[in-house]
């Protein structure tokens, strides 16, 4: 039996009929066609599938697609705006915060939630804030630096632009 699910994905309204058991991550990848959200473990440990659901970081393998009914979803593909990388994407690039890149979308999404909750995290807070995500390439050194650098850039741009915020998920 199929169920209707209507969501907003990266600002676009989406409606599909899906099986009740379809995982949200499979919905995004196989139904919506956004393959930037990755699957790394099947047991909600690795965080590669992290997206924002109504602004909150969620491992999309822990939710069924039907549970996303009426919700606003942000995936890595929705982070860049008007052809400009999100400050976190830019910071991961600048600070060499990725190698193979497979875990990176999940880290960027988790970090965007972290910064929405704590715009000036200490190194320790970043490390603890990202402990739901696993990276096998970087030893996390440059991921931490990337988040620090993004926080700086976002706070700077916020100060400049007054109310304008570039943090996705800060709804």
């Amino acid at each position: 039996m199929k169920h209707k699910v209507a969501t907003t994905v990266n600002g676009q309204r989406r409606e599909h009929e899906v099986e009740a058991r379809l995982l949200l991550v499979h919905y995004l990848r196989d139904v919506v066609g956004l393959t930037g959200t990755h699957i790394g473990c099947d047991t909600s440990q690795c965080g590669a599938c992290t997206i924002l659901v109504d602004g909150q970081a969620v491992k999309s393998c822990t939710m069924f697609a039907v549970q996303a009914e009426g919700k606003s979803l942000t995936t890595i593909e929705g982070m860049a705006k008007d052809g400009e990388l999100h400050p976190l994407q830019q910071a991961f690039w600048d600070e060499h915060g990725l190698q193979c890149g497979f875990c990176t979308p999940g880290f960027i999404m988790a970090a965007s939630y972290l910064l929405s909750q704590n715009p000036n995290p200490s190194e320790d807070e970043i490390r603890r804030g990202l402990e739901g995500n696993l990276c096998r390439c970087t030893g996390y050194v440059n991921i931490v630096k990337s988040v620090q650098s993004a926080a700086k850039a976002m706070n700077g741009s916020k100060a400049k632009a007054g109310e304008h915020s570039t943090a996705a998920g800060r709804s």
Partner: protein
């Protein structure tokens, strides 16, 4: 003369914009029209006979198109999965391995059937409906017991469980007697799951009319897969295309071909439809080759003054149920048992043992972390016996003259071991740390400082040495440089980048060599339909020292031709033409110059010198004259909580020397990741099987512990630069260095911390429960340890 502006520069990676945007393309991101999904039915037992397989119910399940078992695959696949000689030319036995089991399963996870269905959920559902009747047999799980005469056999019809037994150099009893102090230790290198974040995956499409097969897969070496798969399926290379797109990490576990690399293309051929299989994490932990899995018995001796006399190593290698393609590669640990030091004698023996577990194969470092671990632990134990500082015994015995030929005939190309150690000690503030340790001990604090002075053989490798090790294919490397008429450049390489940043670093080399803008150069790799006929792949820290040199060599061939043409255009003698910063001119007339692009354009026109063909492109195969030998010293600082057994890794210092640097940002990144993986072996990771049933107890990330950002400090890096004389770029490898050094740095630090309790050895992973038990035991028996004083 080429201008050096890009080599050595911190250039941000050009692969990153797509990867940070979610536009990377990994195997699971590809689909083909009419594609089916494949699920594998696997043995739940470590050892059993397959009495019957009932597929009736599964075949009728919704969406199911086909169910295939051994008899179906036997129609389209032949031969045995490949096993190379590696460092053990003659094996006692190497059980034949078909990619899917027939009458007997020999490890948990071995394929017994596959299901093809319209969706992956349907394939998964139906795979649970296949009824396999097994008769369970005794499983061989313990490496120590496997060689006992009364042990059950891994393969019911096998003669015993011995895969190989090779003594490289026997003991020299006379030399052993010269030692004033002798230590003995037994080091367990636990099995590790390489766990790239992207699991394995294969998508195959067969065109019956054309007889062509296209395979997308997550591989470090697509050309090798094409070679072997073509043989198994009877498809010539020109009709078999293997594409390894973005790959989410490899760490050695994506070099060798796997069962599914055969089964998925075969299923595509049998069904007539494209077929995709993506490995689940549990499948990955159970069936992707493991690393390490060795026990070392080590004995070493020294003179009273700290002069090293001998080291003797015996390696027992848990090969698993079949030999991995490069199973005996890890035997290189024996050849490096002496590490960075002068010994009067080194003896070594490797023993390969079959068990009912998934095969072991190279994993980041492959043999070299094991060698470093045993040697560096032996050095610390000798220092302890001699009451010498661990830094002093190293300094006294470092190899300092290069080239140095070790006891096994390997030639270390260059090094400055003491310099690297001094830098590491300086960054660490070693003397101050020792004082802190002394004061801390008075207060019952267990602070430990661990050193690891590592060396590495890498850059595989010279054809004379490597062709026999692979059974014929030398591990040289290829590159093709194409200069288009308007001067843009495409470079095709046989290496594969899956995090190493070749898309960035190789164009840096080309930019300097051709003198053209970096942005005009594009790098391509991972598609066997492009570039030179054969590529050798990325592993063993070889991509720069071998592949980068092929790129350099091909670029120089292009410049040589362009110079000839420029001389013709200038009507000058070739030897009078200067090539500088991307321009040609005649000596003494730098004003009348021609840009490289102008010459490139001319090369496609008329009026070329007699005998010169149009075009400006070159293929090069680079065969290195030797391996390359990076080195360094790492320092770990830990505090052990004696009440809980918890290890607090407070600082980690790494000084590494990989010769000249193409891109320092990428080198540092490689070290960070490598260090983390070695620390993770020391403290967290371990594949655990149940001894009785042979079931894996660490089949998900709930039980197989990978550390998060919260488990590490920020690593402190330093660098010395000792160019390699082996190649013109003066480069060595750095991909594995961190892992090679770090597990023993941490273990030496823990043992140093617990030395007041008389603890001299801890098995990996040094988990809290393991340390807590050790400490409790030591306090119970050692009066000095009472109360942690």
């Amino acid at each position: 003369m080429a201008v050096t502006t890009m080599i050595g520069a911190k250039i941000h990676r050009r692969e990153d914009p797509r990867l940070v945007s979610g536009e990377g393309r990994y195997v699971d991101d590809f689909t083909r029209p009419g594609m089916l999904h494949l699920a594998v039915v696997r043995s739940p037992f470590a050892h059993a006979l397959v009495k019957s397989i009932d597929v009736a119910q599964a075949t009728k399940a919704p969406g199911v198109v086909a169910v295939y078992t051994h008899k179906d695959f036997a129609k389209v696949l032949s031969g045995s999965m490949p096993v190379t000689p590696s460092f053990v030319a003659e094996k006692k036995q190497s059980p034949a391995r078909f990619p899917i089991a027939d009458k007997e399963v020999v490890y948990q996870g071995e394929p017994v059937a596959v299901v093809l269905a319209e969706t992956k959920y349907q394939a998964s559902d139906a795979s649970n409906m296949i009824d396999v009747d097994y008769e369970q047999l005794a499983a061989v799980m313990d490496l120590d017991k496997a060689l006992e005469a009364k042990s059950p056999k891994v393969h019911a019809d096998g003669p015993d469980n011995l895969a190989w037994d090779l003594t490289y150099i026997p003991d020299d009893p006379a030399v052993m007697k010269e030692a004033d102090v002798v230590i003995k230790t037994r080091i367990l290198q636990q099995r590790l799951a390489p766990t790239s974040m992207e699991t394995r995956g294969v998508l195959a499409e067969y065109s019956k009319p054309d007889g062509t097969m296209t395979v997308w897969m997550s591989s470090q070496s697509p050309h090798f897969v094409r070679l072997f798969l073509g043989g198994a399926m009877g498809i010539p290379e020109n009709r078999l295309r293997v594409i390894s797109p973005d790959v989410g990490g490899g760490f050695g576990a994506k070099i060798s071909p796997y069962s599914e690399d055969w089964l998925v293309p075969a299923a595509a051929k049998l069904s007539g439809r494209p077929v995709k299989w993506i490995e689940s994490r549990t499948e990955s932990l159970q069936t992707t080759t493991h690393g390490r899995g060795q026990i070392f018995e080590v004995e070493a001796g020294a003179k009273k003054d700290g002069t090293l006399v001998f080291i003797k190593a015996t390696q027992y290698l848990d090969a698993g149920a079949y030999l991995g393609t490069f199973a005996a590669f890890q035997a290189c640990a024996c050849l490096l048992a002496g590490g960075a030091y002068n010994w009067k004698h080194v003896s070594a023996r490797t023993v390969g043992v079959l068990t009912n577990k998934v095969p072991t194969d190279p994993y980041r470092g492959a043999g070299r972390p094991e060698a470093t671990h045993m040697c560096e632990r032996a050095i610390d134990l000798l220092a302890g016996e001699l009451k010498m500082d661990p830094a002093d015994i190293r300094r006294k015995n470092f190899i300092s003259a290069f080239p140095h030929t070790n006891h096994f005939g390997l030639v270390f190309d260059s090094g400055a071991y003491e310099k690297a150690m001094d830098m590491a000690l300086e960054i660490a503030g070693y003397d101050k740390l020792r004082k802190q340790q002394e004061e801390g001990r008075k207060k019952g604090k267990y602070l430990g400082i661990g050193l690891s002075s590592w060396i590495e053989i890498c850059g595989f490798g010279p054809s004379a040495a490597t062709a026999p090790a692979t059974g014929g294919i030398a591990l040289v490397e290829s590159a093709q440089v194409r200069v288009f008429p308007t001067g843009s450049v495409a470079v095709y390489v046989g290496t594969h980048s899956h995090g190493q940043g070749h898309d960035t670093t190789f164009p840096q080399i080309v930019a300097d060599t051709l003198g053209v803008p970096y942005d005009s150069i594009e790098l391509r790799h991972g598609d066997t339909a492009e570039g030179p006929a054969f590529g050798y792949g990325t592993y063993g820290s070889r991509s720069l020292a071998v592949g980068g040199m092929a790129v350099f060599k091909a670029s120089k061939k292009v410049v040589d031709k362009a110079r000839k043409l420029a001389a013709h255009l200038f009507e000058a003698a070739e030897e009078d033409v200067v090539f500088d910063q991307g321009h040609f001119y005649v000596k003494g007339s730098p004003d009348k110059r021609k840009a490289f692009g102008e010459v490139a354009f001319a090369s496609y026109g008329a009026g070329l010198p007699e005998g010169m063909e149009q075009g400006l492109e070159a293929v090069a195969y680079y065969d290195p004259s030797n391996f390359v030998w990076p080195f360094g010293t790492h320092v770990a600082v830990v505090e052990v909580d004696a009440e809980t057994g918890h290890v607090d890794l407070q600082r980690y210092i790494a000084v590494d020397d990989c010769g000249n640097i193409i891109n320092p940002m990428i080198v540092d990144g490689q070290i960070h990741g490598g260090v983390a993986q070695g620390i993770s072996q020391a403290l967290y990771e371990e594949v655990v099987y149940d001894d009785e049933s042979g079931q894996m107890r660490t089949g998900t990330f709930t039980d197989y512990i990978l550390p998060s950002a919260n488990e590490f400090p920020t690593f402190e890096l330093g660098r010395t630069i000792t160019p390699s004389p082996t190649n013109e770029l003066g480069v060595k490898g750095i991909g594995e260095a961190g892992t090679i050094a770090s597990s023993i740095a941490v273990i030496n630090a823990i043992c140093d911390a617990l030395a007041p309790l008389g603890i001299k050895h801890v098995d990996m992973p040094a988990s809290p429960d393991r340390l807590w038990k050790l400490i409790k035991e030591a306090r119970g028996t050692n009066h000095n340890g009472k109360g942690g004083s």
